[in-house]
Amino acid sequence: MQLTLEFGGGLELLCESVKIHEVTVDLEAEETKLTMKQLLSWVRTNLIKERPEMFMKGDTVRPGVLVLVNDCDWELSGQLETMLEDKDVVVFISTLHGG
């Protein structure tokens, strides 16, 4: 599954200062869809190079991190349960830095 992942608000510093990642996430053989929960753990393993606690807390994002799936707040799509599809765009922005 191909996804576009964007990191902003300082989060890009955790993944080698790259803001936009075009990625291919391989699904388990029996699965056809990917949830945000699965994506988060994939991101943590594959993209986050330092200070993962700045990105995640428990099995979800740290409070203050805004998540948009296709430009829509993930609170409206079920947060961790949000089902992703091929070519979706997922944006992570930290609101925790200075204004």
Binding site: D71, D73, K87, G98, G99
Partner: protein
């Protein structure tokens, strides 16, 4: 990693319609009301709310010269946009401009000054940049050269706190507005309660401060959630251009935790700060002005003037730590509050040398 970019905008997940227009898909949920609305309606209600705050609190008077403290960050960028828009739409009759401070740290402000210059063009607001050299006679680079890297936080905290006010004085404005949002204010309330700083606690929730001083300061985003400012900037992809800043401390994170459990918590904290009653027998630090520069100070000289005196006399350590270098007879029994880091200033650690 593949590199193919999606040609079409992918469809939104979750199918609800906007509760306001009922025509477009909802894209966000308002933390204050939990309404699910679309972006177009969000822009509209956001701007209307700020307008109402401005009108209800009589923030401005016709003909005033108003400086917008512009750091290049998201809050001040959105503030510049909204104020210029509302000034036009509702004919406030304000003479608005952007005020930026250049600390004089090689390379540090390049990105944010770029952003502010872009704002100048986008919103048609004249930009004035004042430098530490103009304000204090010293650039941060020169200070660091003199004192080394260890102590510069004292200087940068104190100088930064006063820089906007001094810049505004220099530009002879009637009012200074800053992009402090509801999260900032809630954080400040919490920290002031934890520190027992009653003087700051009573002041920090005011939408306008310093009305008796030379330049009142106001915060039109007092009731505006940081998340919504972020929503606004993410919607138009503005955030992509911001240079990252240091992360904030524990109080901020605590606020975000509370917000997740109960979105109204941020406004509730501000309310509790406002409702704090101070017993009339509590001795408050006398709020005077610096004899040298006129900046608000409970001491004879403000902290910046003490530090400058040390720099100029070649004794840069003066005023750092326990400040006993200068005769500070006034309010000897009052704990020195000047030296503690201002809650409204950005963290010193955000200056990465």
């Amino acid at each position: 990693m593949a590199s193919e970019v999606a040609e079409e905008t992918p469809k939104p997940r979750g199918g609800r319609f906007c509760t306001l227009c009922n025509a477009r898909r909802a894209a966000l949920k308002r933390p204050k009301t939990l309404e699910q609305i679309c972006k177009e309606c969000f822009y509209e209600v956001f701007e209307d709310e700020i307008h109402r705050v401005i009108v209800d609190n009589n923030l401005f008077r016709r003909g005033e010269r108003v400086a917008i403290g512009a750091s290049g960050g998201k809050d001040s960028t959105v503030l510049a946009y909204v104020l210029s828009e509302l000034n036009r739409r509702h004919d406030y009759g304000l003479d608005l401009f952007l005020l930026s401070v250049d600390e004089g740290i090689t390379g540090y402000r390049d990105d944010s000054l770029e952003t502010v210059k872009r704002n100048e063009i986008q919103y048609g607001l004249p930009l004035k940049v004042v430098s530490y050299k103009q304000l204090y006679g010293w650039t941060m680079d020169e200070i660091v050269k003199l004192i080394g890297l260890k102590n510069n936080c004292t200087f940068c905290g104190v100088f930064r706190r006063q820089a906007l006010d001094r810049g505004a004085t220099l530009l002879k404005v009637d009012k200074l507005v800053t992009g402090h949002n509801a999260d900032d204010i809630a954080e400040t309330v919490l920290l002031n309660i934890l520190r027992g700083d009653i003087a700051r606690l009573s002041r920090c929730t005011f939408i306008t401060t310093g009305e008796d001083g030379p330049i009142p300061r106001c915060k039109p985003f007092k009731y505006t959630y940081e998340k919504e400012i972020r929503n606004l900037t993410s919607a138009s992809s503005w955030w992509r251009i911001y240079s990252p800043n240091a992360y904030r401390g524990f109080a901020r994170e605590f606020i975000k935790d509370l917000e997740r459990l109960r979105p109204r918590a941020i406004l509730d904290i501000i309310k509790s700060g406002e409702d704090f009653r101070i017993s009339t027998t509590t001795k408050m630090p006398e709020q005077g002005n610096c004899e040298r520069c006129g900046y608000i100070s409970s001491q004879k000289w403000c902290k910046a003037c003490v530090l400058l005196e040390g720099l100029n006399r070649g004794l840069p350590k003066m005023g750092i730590g326990r400040s006993r270098g200068i005769d500070n007879e006034r309010n000897k029994d009052v704990k020195e509050t000047n030296g503690t880091k201002s809650l409204e200033s950005k963290q010193c650690g955000s200056l990465d040398f």
